[in-house]
Every structure is written in C-alpha cells, then in structure tokens.
C-alpha cells in the first residue's frame, strides 16, 4: 500500500499493462495455495495425505467466502488504527474504477488481496496436520481469517497504525508470514503433539511432491511479491527480480549448512530453503537493492535452519515448521528493511545503514506487535473453540489415519477388497460382489 503514497498525486486511471500483470499475479498467488497443499501433503505420512491437502483446499473455500463478505472490508476500508470499517462489506462499492491510487480496477485489487488471505490461512494448517479434525479446522479457518488475518492485513497494508506510522512491509511480512508463523506455534500448543511425536519417526511420504510443491510456490511467489507493487512500476519490478535472487542465495547457503551438519545436501532441505528465501524477501522485496536482497538470502538462512534443527528436539510438535520457515524468515525480512532499505531504489525511505534510524524503530515495532497479536489471538481462539468442540481426532483415528477417518477416502486406493455398496438400479440381478467378513 505505502508504495502508493508517492503516486497518490497522480490522477488514477486504469492502465491495461498494470492490470494485465495484476490479473496474472492474482492467478499465480491462488495457485500457490495448491502448491502449498502439495508441499504439505508430501511432508506427511501417506495415511494423512488427503487430509493435509484438504486443509489448503478448505482454506480456499472458507477464507475465499469470509474475505468477500467482510474480511476485505475489515482490512482495507479506511484508516482506523486497529481495524477497517464495513464500507466494503459484501463487496459494496467494489467495482471497475481503480482502487485508491492504483491503476487497476478495484475488483482486481480485491481478488489479489483475497488470494493472500487464503494462503495465509492454509499456511497455519501446517502446525496441526495429522491430528486436527477437519470440521473444527474449517471453523477455525473462517474465524481466524477475520480475527487475525484481516486485522493484521489492516495494520500492515490497509491503513492501520503500523503502515500509517511508517512500517514498511512490501508483500506481507506482517499479515502473511509472521501472522501464520506465530499463529502456527499457538495452534500447535493448543492442539497438542501427535501421539507418536518424539517416539516414532514420522517421515515425509513423498519428497517429489515436496519439491514440486516448493517449485510451484516459488513460481507463484513472483506474483505474490511482483504483484505487490500493484502494477509494472519500479517497486514491483524490483521485488520480482529480488524474488529470483534471494531464494537462490538461500538455497546455496542451505546446501552449505546441510553439508556441515550431515555431510549431505538434502532435498527436503532444499525445498524448505526455497520457501525460506521467498519468505525472507517478501517484506523487503520492493525496498532493497538486488545486492542487499542476495545478502538477505544468505542471512535469513541461519535462524531458520537453526530453528528447524532445534524445534523437533522440543515437545512442541509444530509439525511442518511454519514458525521456522515463515514466522522467522518474515521477521528477519521485516527487520532487514530497517537496516538496508534504500530510497534510491524504493523512492520512499532509507534504513538505518542509510541514515534513517526511525525506519528500524518502526520495523522493530512491527516485529514485536505482530507476533504478539497473532500468537495470543490464535491461542485464545482455539482454546475457546476447544471448549465447544473437540479439536483433535481420537488416538484410534490418528492411528488409522486422517484420510480414512476424516474423509472416508484413501489417497492411493487399489480397489482390492472393496465391495460395491451402491447397487445398480439399472442392471438386472447384478452378480453380488465379494463380501468377505460381512458376518
């Protein structure tokens, strides 16, 4: 949003080129949630594949609707300090005219922002896969998208106290990355660890899905970061290019750390590195030079890597390490801006290194307030939900697997021993099919 300030003067009209890019960017970000589903599904055991993927699909359904009904309005209507108004509720006044000072139709702006809400909700699911019941997750997704995402989106993007104060967040270090990461931690604590956590080896059942999913995420991230300039202007172009450079550096650094740790470069590690690099550059994309973006790619690797190695040694089963990959990298990116933002490149503000200490102050504020709000709000939300409805499956269900118990399906069904229950009205006397055990 802030990237608009400089051009606020300019009379806003829809530009076909900017709109063309934003339509592409929006589709790319929506596709990211599919990629995330695949990434997550590959990381769990095969008996929980579908449930894990379905949490992302569920987010697309639930958050897609809440966003249109009120979420968007709460995030982007007006400049209230803590939350927006209801002026855009039920898509009121969301039409073809450009939004604010952008050069794209309001509808496109709305859709683009909606895809952010969706993927953020999906990200949180990584903390509770393999044990949280599907129904309660859907309810959680709906409430969280309003109580946490929309609020933080308002703070960081939509005219809330952080952005108004001067915090720079290009593509969602606040509302997407730190919000999902620290909410994931809270969710993991409330829902509790999987029954076999720490006692058995729970391994990714399909690393190819993990790599392909990470690849789709990187692909989509060009829309995520590159689109956050809301057009083809300098900010978007800079963020786009940095989205190629930063993850490359993170990958290389991760390779080195893997070699030092286990003398082997791991594939799951590489997939993680891609995500970490993309997250790191998310807040900073349009504000720092390509050179600093590469440095960021290197630096962001260390804390994330450390947490990923350390977390499983704790009792906290934050299963897919959303905190490490998103919360931490997002926080690093937010702070990095405070040091290395460069007005020469972003036309808005310098960081400490370039003589503007205030920037670092505001970045630090964001890095403190966001995690606090996300963690507390999510913790309370799930605790309250837990009073009304059981959040997790029974031990027995967990043992059998969530796919069968939550969805009544197997990811990889062979059909052997499956007996048709639906009888064919049409066929006279269909020969009965095997029914062993039906005593």
């Amino acid at each position: 949003m802030d990237t608009l300030t400089p051009i606020l003067a300019a009379a806003a009209r829809v530009d076909t080129g900017d709109t063309a890019w934003m339509l592409t960017a929006t589709a790319l970000v929506l596709f990211m949630t599919i990629g995330l589903g695949l990434f997550y599904a590959g990381l769990v055991r095969s008996k929980n594949t579908l449930n894990t993927f379905m949490m992302c699909i569920g987010a697309m359904a639930v958050a897609g609707i809440t966003w249109a009904l009120v979420g968007y309005s709460l995030a982007f209507d007006g400049t209230g300090d803590l939350v927006g108004g209801l002026g855009y509720a039920f898509l009121k006044d969301v039409g073809f005219e450009p939004f604010g000072a952008t050069t794209i139709p309001h509808l496109v702006f709305f859709a683009f922002q909606g895809t952010f809400c969706i993927i953020t909700v999906a990200l949180v699911s990584g903390a509770v896969v393999e044990r949280m019941r599907f129904g309660p997750f859907l309810i959680f997704a709906a409430l969280w998208s309003l109580l946490v995402y929309s609020v933080l989106a308002h703070w960081g993007f939509g005219g809330g106290w952080l952005i108004e104060g001067g915090t720079l967040d290009f593509a969602g270090g606040i509302a997407v990355e730190m919000a999902s990461g620290f909410s994931a931690l809270a969710a993991a604590l409330v829902v509790g660890a999987r029954k076999d956590y720490g006692r058995q080896a729970l391994l990714p059942h399909n690393a190819v899905f993990v790599l392909l999913g990470a690849g789709i995420l990187w692909f989509g991230w060009f829309g995520f970061n590159g689109g956050s300039g809301f057009g083809t202007g300098n900010a978007g172009v800079l963020a786009f290019t940095n989205t190629m450079l930063t993850p490359a550096c993170t990958l290389a650094t991760w390779f080195v750390l893997d070699l030092i740790r286990g003398r082997k470069v791991t594939a799951i590690g590489a997939a993680t590195a891609i995500v970490v690099g993309c997250v790191g550059i998310t807040p900073a994309g349009g504000f720092i030079s390509p050179a600093w973006a590469m440095v960021l790619g290197v630096l962001v690797t260390f804390p994330c890597y450390a947490i990923i190695v350390w977390r499983p040694r704790t009792r906290v089963d934050e299963t897919l390490d959303v905190l490490a990959a998103h919360g931490t990298a997002g926080l690093v990116g937010i702070l990095f801006i405070g040091f290395f933002a460069q007005a020469d490149w972003n036309g808005i503000s310098d960081g400490l290194v370039y003589g503007n200490a205030d920037q670092l102050l505001w970045q630090t504020l964001a890095a403190v307030a966001t995690p606090a709000y996300a963690f507390v709000a999510t913790f309370l939300l799930l605790k309250l939900m837990g009073l009304v409805v059981p959040l997790r499956a029974t031990e027995r269900e967990e043992a059998i697997g969530m796919d069968v118990t939550q969805h009544g399906e197997e990811a990889y069904a062979s059909g052997e021993g499956a007996i048709l229950v639906t009888t064919e009205a049409g066929l006279e006397g269909p020969r009965p099919v095997a029914q062993p055990g039906a005593a």
């Binding site: 052997e416 021993g417 499956a418 007996i419 009965p432 099919v433 095997a434 029914q435 062993p436 055990g437 039906a438 005593a439």
Partner: protein
C-alpha cells in the same frame, strides 16, 4: 492345520475373496507379487529401450485353516481365480504347526476362526 498359499491374477482377487467368503473362510491375508511361469512375455518400449517383461502381476493369498477346511479353501481359490488361460496361478499347501491370535493369545484352531460380530 495348514497354511494355504494361493497365487492368482489381480483382476480375480475380489472374486477369490468372495469365493472364500462363501466357503466360510473368514481370515485371510493377501499381498501383491510378481510371477513368472508359462505366460508369454510382454514387450514394452521406453524411448530407445525395448524390453521383454518376464513377470506378471499377481496377488498372493495366505490362508491358515484347520485341516478340514483345506479342500474347501482350495476349491474356493480355484473357483474364484480360474479363467482357463495360462497364468491363472498356483496353490501351495504348507504344514502349519502353530497358530496364535495375538489379541488373545489363543492358539491353534480357535486362533484361525475369527470372532463373529
């Protein structure tokens, strides 16, 4: 008691299960195997590589039964699995000295007759 091993075509697996069920045989374990016998090899081509596939997919049934059930089991396997074409498979009968139901520790005969719900 005997351990009856039947190797059949995958597409006949459900028919075999049904036949076993009809024969009052309740407990059974099955697994996928690949077999070679009298069947013609398939030719497959992957880019420049042409291969003869000497193995055909089969399903292997393992059924522990008390002696009086052996013939019924064999008949059921034959009935369910036969197509008359080469590749129908084989049945092997192996002596079974002991059987234990893990849940209860019951042994032998009682172990191979599942609880009726």
């Amino acid at each position: 008691m005997k351990l009856v091993i039947g190797i059949v075509r995958p597409e006949k697996a459900n028919d075999v299960l049904e036949a076993l069920y009809r024969a009052e045989v309740r407990g059974v374990s099955m697994s996928r195997v690949q077999g070679h016998g009298g069947e013609l090899d398939r030719v497959e081509t992957y880019r420049g590589t042409t291969v003869k596939m000497g193995l055909a997919d089969k399903v292997r049934f393992e059924v522990a039964v008390s002696d009086e059930f052996v013939d019924a089991t064999i008949e059921a396997l034959c009935e369910g699995a036969r197509t008359g074409e080469v590749g129908d498979g084989k049945i092997f009968v192996v002596p079974l000295e002991r059987a234990v139901r893990i849940r209860t520790g019951e042994t032998d005969k009682s172990a191979v007759t599942p609880v009726v719900k």
